[in-house]
Symmetry: C2
Subunit: 489 residues, 2 copies
């Protein structure tokens, strides 16, 4: 066996163990008995220790020194493994353990603080988390910007500066679009209860309509919908709310987008570093284009309207055009995860600027709440009423996930670019979508994005599919045109 073959055999087991660890997380959110929590923490920790030890195993370094890439796939595998090995090896074991311990504690403190609406009780541990992540970034980054070192965990190659420029271009046009929309009369809302079982039945139909394979997947309920797993076992979850069936349907379509990416990767990459979505941003581009550009399009919502009438009878929306408005209704709200296409990115931009300032040392943790509230007021025009609607609303910072938020908006930007290319390639797309048929769209995405997994960098992945470097223009043009139509701007 060559050094490359030995390395890949070792890596294949590591990937398989990573799948096992990931499924433990799935189980925890869907199946685990409540009383198992303390034991599960030890199981997670034991798996994490195993995976960490394999990531920095000395023989990996030796194989990497000797391995030669015979083709582009091998070169990409080596690039991923080397990057992971070097990054992991740079973080001292003491620091890694302290990060794990502190974020685990911080998560619990945050949950309590949010329940109590008590920001002050969260700040001491958040300071520790920020300090530890800055220390980690310094260990990893060398002379580069510490925030970039953190960002690189979720979106390899992205920098705070480049994202900052992109987001600076997004913000004014989104603020203006939002203000223009909210000046106009709003479409009707749904205003009745929708049977839970019927919601789940239609949500499964939607998952299948978007090409999700139940042969290598399954759908369960969870408090917060998520997608989990790679390769031949990619599971999604959804939820129901009797008053808000769109939450169920569009959560499902969103998670199907993530899952379709994993299910769409070329089978030859199974249990290799190429056999997973290449970055959070590209992942989010798939979930978002499924959910928004396809799922919330006029053509597809026309079909969905008929499906909902079949499932629920008359629910007070007179026709497809009105339903398109209802699905895409823009209204005030504090919560990122409940935001519409227009306002969602404003929530993300706020978090990106604040966390970048935190890591740069330009914003003190003690000043975070005030900074949040000021910025929210500036962009949304009204004041945060309580911390659970403001600085305490998201779990991410308690878990130390600085650098994660911007990938949400980056995914939307990528989805905007892909949508233009998709429309060019499939001119009659709306004819299919109007019949609930997404097969041409999903086939194009599979062919041009999904199948490659981690073969290229994130930016290369999008550029390969669209023929151009990604930029924020297409997303903005799409949003302005769509909502001008709905709101008569």
């Amino acid at each position: 066996m060559t050094a490359y073959d030995e390395l890949m055999a070792f890596q294949r087991d590591t990937e398989a163990l990573g799948q096992v660890a990931g499924r433990l997380g799935w189980d925890q959110e869907t199946m685990m008995p409540h009383g198992a929590t303390p034991q599960r923490a030890e199981e997670h920790a034991a798996m994490a220790n195993i995976l960490h030890a394999r990531r920095i195993a000395p023989q990996v370094g030796e194989w990497l020194d000797k391995a030669e890439a015979a083709d582009p796939v091998a070169a990409a595998n080596l690039r991923h493994i080397r990057r992971d090995y070097e990054r992991t090896a740079k973080v001292p074991a003491r620091l890694a353990a302290e990060l794990a311990r502190t974020t685990s504690l911080a998560h619990r403190v945050w949950a309590q603080a949010r329940a109590d609406e008590d920001v002050a009780s969260f700040l001491p541990i958040l300071k520790q988390v920020v300090a530890l992540r800055i220390e980690e970034a310094a260990a990893v980054a060398g002379n580069t910007d510490p925030y970039d070192a953190l960002l690189d965990d979720y979106e390899p190659g992205a920098t705070g500066e480049s994202l900052g420029a992109m987001f600076a271009a997004l913000r004014p046009r989104l603020v203006d679009l939002r203000a223009a929309i909210l000046d106009r009369p709003a479409p009707a809302m749904l205003d009745q209860a929708f049977d839970d079982a019927a919601q789940l039945a239609l949500s499964e139909k939607l998952a299948l309509a978007f090409g999700y394979s139940l042969d290598t997947g399954r759908i369960d309920k969870a408090v917060h919908p998520f997608s989990s797993g790679s390769g031949l076992d990619v599971r999604i979850t959804t939820r129901t709310n009797p008053r808000d069936p769109f939450n169920c349907f569009y959560s499902t379509i969103h998670e199907v987008g993530h899952a379709a990416y994993e299910q769409g990767i070329d089978a030859t990459h199974l249990l290799t570093p190429l056999g997973r979505g290449v970055s959070m941003g590209v992942h989010e581009s798939q979930s978002r284009i499924y959910e928004n550009q396809l799922g919330r399009s006029r053509a597809f919502t026309g079909w969905l309207y008929g499906q909902m009438r079949d499932a629920f009878g008359d629910f007070g929306i007179p026709d497809e055009d009105a339903f398109f408005g209802t699905v895409n209704r823009v209204s005030d709200g504090f919560i990122r995860t409940e935001a519409d296409e227009v306002q969602y990115n404003l929530h993300v931009l706020l978090r990106f600027d604040l966390e970048r300032a935190l890591i740069a040392g330009d914003l003190a943790v003690d000043d975070l709440e005030a900074a949040w509230n000021d910025r929210f007021k500036a962009d949304f025009g009204y004041a945060v009423d309580k911390p659970s609607n403001g600085v305490l609303q998201d779990v991410h910072w308690s878990e130390g996930l600085f650098g994660y938020f911007p990938t949400y908006t980056l995914g939307n930007v990528y989805a905007g670019c892909l949508h233009v290319a998709l429309r060019d390639a499939v001119p009659d797309l709306d004819d299919q979508l109007a019949k609930g048929d997404t097969s041409k769209a999903t086939a194009w995405l599979r062919e041009n994005v999904q199948q490659y997994g981690g073969l290229r960098t994130p930016v290369e992945t999008i550029a390969h599919a669209t023929g151009a470097a990604p930029s924020e223009g297409p997303l903005l043009d799409y949003l302005e045109a769509k909502f001008a139509g709905i709101y008569g701007l």
Copy 2:
């Protein structure tokens, strides 16, 4: 840290990883998408490799050399870890790998052979499995009987000779009892369909009645019911058959017996070698006493009769006495897993004698089917009609599990002993059981057997609870008395 503390910290992680690997098996039987099979095989193998490497890790040997036991719990932990370490270390890596590969292949060949009713196609690979297990036994056993070395995996301390003597005493009385019963008119059978959802609802009620905790457990459906996990996450499965609700109810109670053992172990033993049931035989004693001596008793079936009337209305059995007969009906059949209390052990004794002869070299694999069919005719009085009802019916031998079968009957023998002691300790037991209340019985079993987990050897565990060395007499006396009553012998 002392050597003992270091060893136990390492062992704790190993136990946690063992729980993760076990839950992977649970997932495979209950939740896994069909198409995930090939990937799952790699995940299982990766986990097995990790666990194997930890079992024979050199530092375990060093810690064992230095560790000192400060108390009986520590002494028992060291005994378990030392036994496992020495045993695993004696099997060459080449042999372990070949066993894993060959049994995995043999399992598939067996399934196909059973479907095709083609014994000959299974024999070549079965010969390999037998030869490999004999080789393993020789590596482990040194000068002792190879069969004992295999048996020791499932029932530490048991020997083929001691079990052989016990089983030789069982067989004639069971054969006679069976013959006497089948000479008499049989009780009525159930003869209608029973709603699946109502079966599951009542089966959950039964699980709770027998003290199963859903706070640290859950119930799902599986093709073959099983119990899985230790400590704070102990899951059971059941199944439904519209024509045979007893299959659902008594499978559930049986698995609850296994699960209650795990849930009943003292919490201080969590994720240590003492935190699991001590042997297959003692485990089976718990499942069997829950299922049979308690669950199929006149008193408890009286309560169950009322529950079934409430759930299903009149199902053609006139009263509690008739229902007691129906539950305990003895009838001809080829299949071990479907056998009643009386005939079950005859099925096991047959397998024990044949597999012991195979491992001793006294029976050739080529002669196995004829030996099976002869013995079946001798004990049951009629001929095996096809291999799937005979030598191909069980999965065990294809997986190399020689030494496993006798623990089923050993469990019944232990249950017989425990039942006598339980009746002595709780003279008014039937008053509770008649109300569907098993709390005194399960509390006694928890107090006298379950809480100790692996603290004592299997035989010591039973002797501690009953005050005497286990023997087959109580089981035979119980069966003869019970069925004399039902059948008027």
